[in-house]
């Protein structure tokens, strides 16, 4: 983030933000500022989008930088390209804010490297739930088109996680396209990082627009969203809290682990819960079944979700992919976001920020966390010594 007064360029297109972004991609490749582009492209069957790495102008022509659905987390695409370090080719990646924030978390986990990547974000109206889109692409395209044209974040026909998203606008990308509340057909191109500013200079976009109005629009929407998020999540927390609540919430779980495989943060090569070690001995299962009188299968439903929560809630960016991927419609994202909103503030940590802060579990203070001392009990009732 640059703290100096923010200046932006203005781009106009009859097709609105989609047109402007599209033009921007073409110019960036055309002028040689980047070698290739990573953006969603509609699949030939016209019922989904896929991440495509492209440098052929004809292919870029077919790109849909603002796609109505999010079938694959962009951070995962970025990980495939950069997990082994800096690549040869300079790539411009157009992604939603939550995808960029997930990418930043993966960068902290050493799974993504940003050295040769230019991240472009945009004011995100939300995404259509994937199953809705697959059922009726025509309707979804139309409603999403209207959403973008309105220049405001969507309210209906979007994923539940998008409805309570507070990071729908500028994030720690390199260049941000802001268009909420801006007159129709026009968008602000805002350099966020130095790299972004250099790229704008290189392709000759003059930065002479004032964006104060846009900024205040964004912060007013954010305030409303923050309120909605707090309300929704605390209601969900109350509903689900406790073992019985959790068992109820995950009763429908079929143990497919889709939520885990689509999660950008769950990057482990093998999950404990997919391993042989996690499987109980049949004798043990019989023993417990006998004690309880009955036994449900698959085993370890709550254990899986609680375990996953302990591992990734500090990095959860509430992108909502888990809910989108759940075949039985469990509001996984709501439950995980609820937990994330409790664990992250413990360390005053906000997942998805790129401000040089390492992950909370990668650092410590010698004196901190009275909260732990509270549970560190000694026989004399004294507090755990601090030195």
């Amino acid at each position: 983030m640059n703290d100096t007064e923010r200046s932006a360029a203005r781009m106009r297109s009859p097709e609105g933000i989609r047109g402007s972004l599209h033009d921007f991609l073409k110019i960036a490749v055309d002028k040689g500022a980047v070698d290739s582009v990573l953006a969603p492209v509609k699949v030939p069957a016209e019922n989904s989008y896929a991440w495509i790495l492209m440098n052929d102008p004809a292919v870029i022509e077919s790109a849909s930088p603002v796609a109505p659905v999010m079938p694959v987390q962009g951070a995962k695409a970025l990980k495939s390209l950069t997990r082994k370090g800096k690549g040869e080719s300079r790539i411009l990646a157009v992604m939603r804010p939550c995808e960029i924030r997930a990418g930043i978390e993966l960068m902290k986990l050493n799974q993504v490297h940003f050295d040769n990547i230019v991240l472009v974000s945009y004011d995100c109206p939300g995404a259509v739930p994937f199953q809705d889109y697959v059922k009726d692409p025509g309707f979804s395209e139309e409603s999403f088109g209207k959403m973008i044209a309105s220049g405001r974040p969507g309210e209906e026909n979007i994923k539940p996680a998008c409805g309570i998203c507070t990071e729908f606008s500028i994030v720690d990308s390199d260049i941000h396209f802001g268009y909420f509340g801006v007159d129709e057909g026009s968008a602000f191109v805002i350099p966020v990082s130095e790299q972004g500013a250099e790229l704008l200079d290189a392709i000759g976009l003059d930065r002479d627009a004032k964006i104060a109005d846009w900024e205040s629009e964004i912060s007013s929407i954010r305030d409303k969203r923050t309120k909605k998020r707090t309300e929704t999540l605390s209601a969900a927390g109350e509903r689900i809290k406790g073992l019985d609540g959790l068992i109820n919430a995950f009763r429908k779980c079929i143990g497919c682990h889709n939520c885990m495989s689509v999660c950008p943060i769950c990057y482990c090569r093998q999950c404990y819960f997919d391993s042989e070690v996690s499987k109980k001995d049949p004798d043990f299962i019989f023993e417990i079944a006998e004690k309880r009188g009955a036994m449900a299968f698959p085993r370890d439903k709550v254990m899986f979700h609680a375990g996953r929560m302990t591992h990734m809630s500090l990095s959860c960016v509430s992108c909502g992919f888990c809910t989108d991927a759940c075949p039985t419609g469990i509001p996984v994202a709501e439950i995980f976001s609820y937990m994330a909103d409790i664990t992250q503030p413990t360390f005053e940590y906000i997942a998805g920020k790129n401000n040089g802060e390492p992950l909370p579990l990668r650092k410590f203070e010698k004196k901190e966390l009275p909260l732990v001392h509270e549970i560190v009990k000694s026989a004399e009732g004294e507090e755990g010594s601090d030195e």
């Binding site: 927390g237 809290k241 406790g242 073992l243 019985d244 609540g245 959790l246 068992i247 995950f250 009763r251 404990y272 417990i288 309880r292 009955a294 036994m295 449900a296 085993r299 370890d300 439903k301 709550v302 254990m303 609680a306 375990g307 929560m309 302990t310 591992h311 809630s313 500090l314 609820y338 937990m339 409790i342 664990t343 413990t346 360390f347 909370p360 579990l361 410590f364 203070e365 010698k366 901190e368 966390l369 909260l371 732990v372 549970i375 560190v376 009990k377 000694s378 026989a379 004399e380 755990g384 010594s385 601090d386 030195e387």
Partner: protein, 139 residues
């Protein structure tokens, strides 16, 4: 049938708390026989999953103990452990595990007496709470 006895999983770090337990033993100190000790290299090695799994497998409580902050054999393992426990605490609450069922403590190699006292206290706490409702009940 005799009175119900809590079964407690004690995860102790090799360098301090395990040695503390050893000292309590060789000093012939009396403490409740309810703990089952698992030795680990460092409290920083404790994955919250180990605690959850312990409760799931039938333990009524878990005690995790490491070196005092600043005394870690690996310099910073227990500082990280402390952060991890801070995250685990609200999670346990969310999952419906009574706060006293899982306790953390720092015990050094010289504190055999403290080990005995901590174990006594933890055992009493857990006895009061009663048997654990298994983490993954019938579901």
């Amino acid at each position: 049938m005799s009175e119900w006895q809590p079964k407690i999983l004690a995860i102790l770090c090799n360098w301090c708390s395990y040695a503390g337990a050893d000292l309590a033993g060789v000093s012939r100190m009396q403490y409740p026989p309810n703990v089952r000790v698992v030795r680990i290299p460092c409290s920083g090695r404790v994955d919250p999953l180990m605690i959850l799994k312990g409760l799931q497998s039938g333990f009524d409580g878990v005690l995790v103990s490491g070196c005092h902050p600043g005394d870690c054999h690996y310099i910073s393992g227990n500082f990280v452990a402390r952060r991890r426990f801070a995250v685990l605490k609200p999670l346990l609450e969310f999952v419906g595990v009574e706060p006293d069922r899982v306790q953390f403590s720092w015990i050094s190699a010289g504190e055999g007496e403290r080990f005995a006292q901590v174990v006594t206290k933890v055992t009493e706490d857990i006895r009061k709470i009663g048997p654990a409702k298994r983490l993954v009940k019938g579901a």
